[in-house]
């Protein structure tokens, strides 16, 4: 591989890594024709993991990190002194195809700094996707970042070639955006999300392709002072209004070129993790934002225990739940019971009565569930209401390191 190309790749991957999304899931199952390349599997594949525990599924790069915008949290803002580079459309296409052929990746996730104009940039990105699909018969996954400032007809065309489109909200409130990303505009972001949603719905009804894996967004956590409840409310609204497939939470991470208005600190990884758990409860476990917020304090989630346990501890009157009779909705609310385990319980109890030993084969986190359930041979007695229940279930506090 050409040395300048390797160097560009390093710069433009480095510039793309603050985007949390790397998923290659939800695309319709398909395989390329005889002369094409690639397939999608539905659930996606992680081809490697980096030492931050994150999955490498797509070739996640920027077309260029030159940018006319000046967003304080972003390494690529125009006032940053970071090293710049720019790929040509052909270079990105060739890299994607060659990496794909060696089974390094599931496809491409292309984003870009804004150069010349949002329209120009969006068109170049769209051209990459179009070339891959048309010239190389590429059937792998393509995720394109939609630039909300670009003209709507370019978003229309991007959706024809991509499996997923995403528009990043980045900051959950208008005020934060104004302060940290002065060129960005909430209305523009929302109208693009609205346009994408509308087109996805119509294309499904008309059996056409338009961003078949849906749209997603990213919210940066910890760059402004929005509470967890505020973040979750923003997500909840977006899930309902725009049918988003995912909201990604990205702990604001130190970047090599800090901005004057945004001091750097270690990323709030635990907070990010709790937000993902809460998001999961919203989407798959029938919880409302109010219920999740109830488990925390002052709009912030409990960092020590997971949000489901936090909610259960404050709603002990709804427990214990009998695993042999309770309905699925209530079983999903038992701390330590995941969706899959609950489904297995519901299937198994049609043929047998479940005791603790049976449950231990269905879920690895039975210990957390015990105080909240009744089983064939188990009742928590007074355990559910004990004052020290939280202390019994919370992971032991880390010992202070003295020296």
């Amino acid at each position: 591989m050409d040395q300048t190309l390797v160097k560009k790749l390093r710069i433009l991957a480095d510039a793309a890594k603050y985007d949390a999304s790397c998923s290659s899931s939800n695309a319709p199952k398909r395989a390329a024709g005889v002369d094409g390349l690639g397939s999608t599997t539905g659930s996606g594949i992680c081809h490697a993991y980096t030492p931050d525990g994150r999955c490498v599924s797509l070739l996640k790069i920027l077309l260029t990190n030159y940018c006319l915008f000046d967003c304080a949290y972003c390494i690529n803002r125009r006032s940053s002194n970071v090293e710049r580079a720019r790929f040509t459309v052909e270079e990105v296409v060739a890299l994607t195809v060659n990496f794909y052929k060696r089974n390094y990746i599931e496809g491409l996730f292309l984003s870009s700094g804004v150069i010349k104009s949002p329209d120009y940039t969006m068109e170049q990105m769209m051209l990459v996707a179009k070339t891959l699909r048309q010239k190389h018969g590429f059937a792998g996954y393509i995720h394109l970042k939609a630039i909300p400032e670009a003209s709507p007809w370019l978003v229309e065309q991007a959706g024809l070639w991509a499996d997923r489109l995403s528009v990043n909200l980045e900051l959950p409130s208008q005020q934060s955006l104004q302060r940290l990303a002065p060129e960005k505009d909430v209305d523009g972001i929302q109208s693009t999300m609205g346009q994408v949603k509308e087109r996805i719905v119509e294309a499904k009804a008309e059996r056409r392709r338009f961003s078949p894996a849906g749209q997603s967004t990213q919210v940066i956590v910890g760059a402004d002072d929005t509470t967890d409840e505020g973040v979750l409310r923003a997500s909840d609204t977006m899930y309902r209004r725009y049918d988003l497939s995912r909201v990604y939470y990205s702990a604001f991470s130190p970047i090599p070129e800090p901005s004057v208005i945004l001091p750097l600190k270690p990323p709030p990884l635990q907070r990010e993790n709790r937000l993902y758990q809460a998001d999961w409860l919203l989407r798959h476990y029938g919880f409302s934002v109010d219920e999740i917020a109830e488990g925390g304090e002052g709009g912030m989630l409990d960092l020590e225990i997971d949000p489901k346990l936090a909610w259960a501890l404050k709603n002990r009157h709804r427990f214990p739940v009998d695993v042999n009779t309770a309905d699925r909705e209530m079983l999903l609310r038992v701390p330590g019971f995941g969706k899959r385990a609950v489904d297995k319980m519901v299937a198994a109890r049609r043929h047998t009565r479940l005791g603790l030993e049976d449950l231990a084969r269905l879920t690895p986190t039975l210990k957390r569930a015990r105080p909240f359930i009744i089983a064939e041979d188990h009742s928590p007695h007074g355990l559910t209401d004990r004052a020290d229940l939280r202390a019994r279930l919370a992971p032991p506090a880390k010992q202070l390191s003295l020296f």
Binding site: K17, E202, E206, M345, L362
Partner: protein, 475 residues
């Protein structure tokens, strides 16, 4: 004495199936059978049962068999036969009872196989061999279980157009773009030492890693160390982890620096003016774009003077319009021309365009039969129409037919019910009437004549409205 069933080494699904059928037919319970992967090649054990008819098994049981025979556990056949036996002897729903110890164990084995398959799909790394023009790829991989055959479909589907081999200690797979061949086991030495793209791939891997989030435990949970030695990028892991804390400290300690480059104020200002500056520029853009539904010869653009008082918006170009590249020149256009003349509207001073800019059709012999655009297609094009009308700035916009009304209002509008004056998006004075092609489709002459009268009456009303609006603007 217990029966011994000898199967071939590896995942011997066929022999297992045959043996299980026979044993069930003979009524041999699981505790009376021992299973081994010790069959001499080409020789099926003497104790093997005779051929028996297929077993009708619950689907949940069948779903265990194929994956679990790939497992390395020597007890796999015995466990599966136990499941089959019990399912056929009073416990038909057994495979759905995940809390049963046998089912639980089989579920864990199946999960291990799925994981092994998934990791093989993920972690195989191809290297190019031979003449670059010919493009052949090989990979060396060490799966944990006997999954080589089970994994073949995935790689064939994905890399159908390439020639490749996957070599493992339990056998090899070879694909030549047409047929799949299973070959003998190989060694690492069968695969080249490196590949021209590995340097780039390693560079990517190192750069996409964020040292401020270092979490090797999470990484190892998904990418256990046993896979590392066959992955070119994994050699970087120790250094990346070791250097991470220092890199993070450095970033946090770093003071914000003033930009070294000049603030690109002019470029930033210019960026805001990206919209096409003229109707001609917009038209150039439309003309350069591919049709949403493939087939059209060209985009058919709007016609007429900017500043026209009335703009007529039709549905989409037809066969003749597509060939000539001009709107409203086919049969429907001719009807419109005649009616406009009768109503006293000068076509040359009006603006005419379509909601959708490309012809859509199905081919029937030599004829191209027009197809109406779908809602999604109309909406796909409406952003252009909006821009177009912003340049023309007509006083009155006429929607000819449902597609135009949809494009101008954003909603599906029943034309006959809302025929007459209307308000379009942005408060634009408008008028909704049928498309002239509607007149061509009416079957009997009397109805046609009546509809034509109404059509001309609409245009008269439009002319009056336009005059009203012009007078209002002049006053």
């Amino acid at each position: 004495m217990a029966r011994h069933i000898a199967l071939r080494e590896g995942a011997d699904l066929d022999s297992f199936r045959q043996a299980a059928r026979g044993l069930v037919a003979e009524g041999v319970p699981p505790e009376a059978v021992t299973w081994g992967s010790d069959a001499a090649p080409g020789l099926f054990a003497a104790e093997a049962p005779a051929d028996a008819p297929p077993l009708a098994l619950p689907r949940a049981v069948a779903e265990f068999i194929q994956p679990v025979v790939c497992h390395r556990d020597p007890e796999r056949y015995g466990l599966l036969y136990g499941l089959i036996w019990r399912s056929l002897h009073g416990e038909r729903a057994l495979a759905e009872v995940s809390s049963d110890p046998l089912v639980h164990r089989l579920e864990r084995m199946r999960k291990a196989i799925r994981r092994d398959l998934h990791k093989m799909h993920a972690f195989v790394r191809f290297r190019q061999v031979g003449d670059p023009a010919e493009e052949r790829f090989t990979a060396w991989f060490e799966p944990e279980h006997f999954i080589l055959e089970a994994t073949a479909d995935f790689f064939v589907e994905r890399f159908r157009a390439l020639r490749w081999s996957i070599v493992t200690p339990i056998g090899s797979l070879h694909w030549d773009r047409e047929a799949l061949r299973f070959g003998p086991p190989g060694t690492r030495a069968d695969v080249p030492e490196s590949d021209a793209f590995e340097e780039g791939w390693r560079g990517y891997y190192a750069s996409i890693f964020n040292p401020a989030r270092v979490n090797p435990t999470a990484m190892r949970a998904e990418m256990p160390k046993k896979y590392w030695h066959n992955m070119p990028e994994a050699a970087l892991i120790p250094d990346l982890i070791r250097e991470a804390p220092a890199r993070t400290r450095e970033m946090i300690a770093k003071q914000a620096a003033l930009p070294k480059r000049r603030d690109p104020a002019r470029a930033v200002e210019k960026m805001a003016r990206q919209a096409p500056p003229t109707l001609a520029a917009l038209n150039a853009l439309i003309a350069a774009t591919d049709p949403l539904v493939p087939g059209a010869t060209r985009a058919v653009l709007g016609e007429g003077p900017e500043g026209a008082t009335i703009a007529f918006v039709g549905e989409q170009p037809g066969d003749q319009e597509d060939l000539a590249g001009r709107c409203f020149i086919g049969p429907a256009g001719q009807v419109l021309d005649r009616a406009m003349q009768e109503a006293g509207i000068d076509r040359a001073r009006s603006y005419l365009t379509n909601a959708v800019k490309h012809f859509k059709f199905v081919q029937q012999g030599k004829r191209r039969i027009h197809q109406s655009p779908t809602t999604g297609e109309v909406k796909h094009y409406r952003w252009w129409l909006k821009q177009e009308l912003d340049f023309v700035k007509p006083k009155l916009v006429v929607a000819l037919g449902g597609s135009a009304a949809l494009a101008l209002t954003g909603e599906v509008v029943p034309v006959m019910r809302y025929r007459g004056r209307a308000r379009f998006e942005g408060g634009q004075p408008g008028y909704i009437m049928p498309h002239p092609s509607y007149l061509l489709r009416l079957p009997d002459e009397a109805a046609k004549a009546r509809a034509y009268e109404d059509f001309v009456a609409d245009l008269r009303a439009i002319r009056a409205m336009a005059e009203e609006l012009e007078a209002g603007a002049a006053a």
